[in-house]
Symmetry: C2
Subunit: 379 residues, 2 copies
Amino acid sequence: MNLENTLLMIPGPVPIVPRVQRAMSKPMFGHRGEEFGTIYDECREILAQLFGTNNEIFIISGSGTASIEAAIGNLIGKDDTIVTIENGKFGERLCDIGDRYGRAVKLQYEWGTPIDLDAVDNALEQGAKAIAMVHNETSAAIRNPVEKVAELAKKHGALFIMDAITTVGGDTVLVDEWGVDIAFMGSQKCIAAPPGLSAITVSDAAWDAMVDNRPYYLDLKAYRKSGSNNPSQTPYTPGVPLFSAMLEALRIVQEEGMEKRKHRHSQGAAAVRAAAGVLGIELFPTIDQYHSYSNTVTAMNIPQGITDKQLRGEMLDMNIQISGGQAHLKGKIFRIGSMGNFTATDMITTICALELVLHRHGLIDNIGEGVEAAYKELE
Amino acid sequence: MNLENTLLMIPGPVPIVPRVQRAMSKPMFGHRGEEFGTIYDECREILAQLFGTNNEIFIISGSGTASIEAAIGNLIGKDDTIVTIENGKFGERLCDIGDRYGRAVKLQYEWGTPIDLDAVDNALEQGAKAIAMVHNETSAAIRNPVEKVAELAKKHGALFIMDAITTVGGDTVLVDEWGVDIAFMGSQKCIAAPPGLSAITVSDAAWDAMVDNRPYYLDLKAYRKSGSNNPSQTPYTPGVPLFSAMLEALRIVQEEGMEKRKHRHSQGAAAVRAAAGVLGIELFPTIDQYHSYSNTVTAMNIPQGITDKQLRGEMLDMNIQISGGQAHLKGKIFRIGSMGNFTATDMITTICALELVLHRHGLIDNIGEGVEAAYKELE
């Protein structure tokens, strides 16, 4: 029986509030007229603030992965070198895409462990056109030191590509201040719009460095050309209702204000970590002075005495959906998102369901301690 | 003042009926679970019928152009030859994309004029891995002889790629019977779903011929792998609400039945042509025994004595949106769609508005003759 009332506490897609749903379902309109252009421009304007950039923003009808490929495919030709950093599934994707377009020098670390900044320095020392990394590695719930890597990129004259898919709209992102050349985000993450769109921003240096034989659907120069039309457009037919939805979601972000929103995301993740602490659940990532726990998702080891299927399945029976691990982490970790327009009570409900399941399996003695610990972080 | 009640009579996006809007706005759900898998599979099953194929269908979160690139980018490497046929804007796009991936042998004809089948035969005689063409060239409202070209492709052992973006769900498409290797459609066209998705089908021969260095977001082998998961998935986050909407739109197609639906599309286009005839408006395309007028869009020359801006602007003031020409045809032609879930009254309303505008500019003496001519075709 699907009552369509499951609380999504996964790291995207996140729940869509009624205001956004209504915006999405307004009658269809053409994508080459004023109405679309106005929506597109307002989305881009608000997104530029969230990215912390004066550079132009473009919105691609496709997932975050489309933007990763746009970033790499437009910059890297077959004789170009790109350094790619992996400490999780999305870092791995950067490596894979780097290989399809050029020569990827891959710095690979165990998922959820710190990257080695000296190794980054050394790799860039050998010469590279660009370096790509993930800001917030959702698969492992670790936040990587993008500012440090940006400095190294600058030192060596490499362009810096930042996957900010799960930070824009939920965490601090300062594209211009950090010196990021290309950054991108996904609609279904922190801004809490429906999935299907991705936004990307490009620096002057990156525009100047683009290769001639670019991908077609993801040709950023085509996006720039159409984006400067009056009314502004996308080069190919956009997912129109998703744009209406995204604009409403972005207006909500503005109404809350980014400072409050970032604080709420960070409180949400802190609440999950606090609960994990008292419930005897180990956090999955290993951090150091440069790395920190993610503010938008928390990854934990599945405790001894319960399986992934039991843990997540029994929470789902209580209408709370959380995530498992990806690839080789499947069955080993579970993840709780603190992303989008979640409330303190969503978080408490989730911790409560987790406690009930752990108690049922005899893994904790008392009910309520996790909730209590979480609650303190949410005040 | 935008009352959101403009009647879209453009060749996509087309109006979305309330049933589809409601399906699109149901609460968000995860894209890796049963619920999504069930929707994805049912979409693929119905689409396979509309494509006329036993081959598997995949749905890409992206516009029809994403599927064009998927078709060419997965099949053509830099040393491969592809013959591309252009007699309109979308044929031109095939040529452009062919150039980005391999050596495109371009057969180019004036937009809206017949292609030369002997030239196709000769080009294939030189050897080519594939040939790509557009079934229904929306920019010029001409339907091209795909069956004939499919025969020539077979004769010369070339793979046949068919852009069926504006025919699947509105016109006869017989992928298996004709011997098409890759075909694709767009969600916002004949099936009347919102824009943002594209479906593609691939033959065994095409799977066997794929290049190693494929695009990433559009890697068809990745779609095949994820599509065979249980529950079935897409390789990257799909535009979830668009899938719910597409399924509802496809169910509507099934309820109407393809025979009735094709007849209705063909009647709609015939009605526009009949009205044009009595209103002294020239049809834009030139056809011959192999080519025919499109069933899903009609292109006409803008009459002397009125500008594009006046014609379309004054119709828009009456809440009817039609299309202009694209690229060098801008200002020279106008186009009326007969696509999706339009009714006979939508068509009559459109013709009526056209007559009012023409009469206001002194280009016709009497009001009502166009409507009368159109009406006869719609009975």
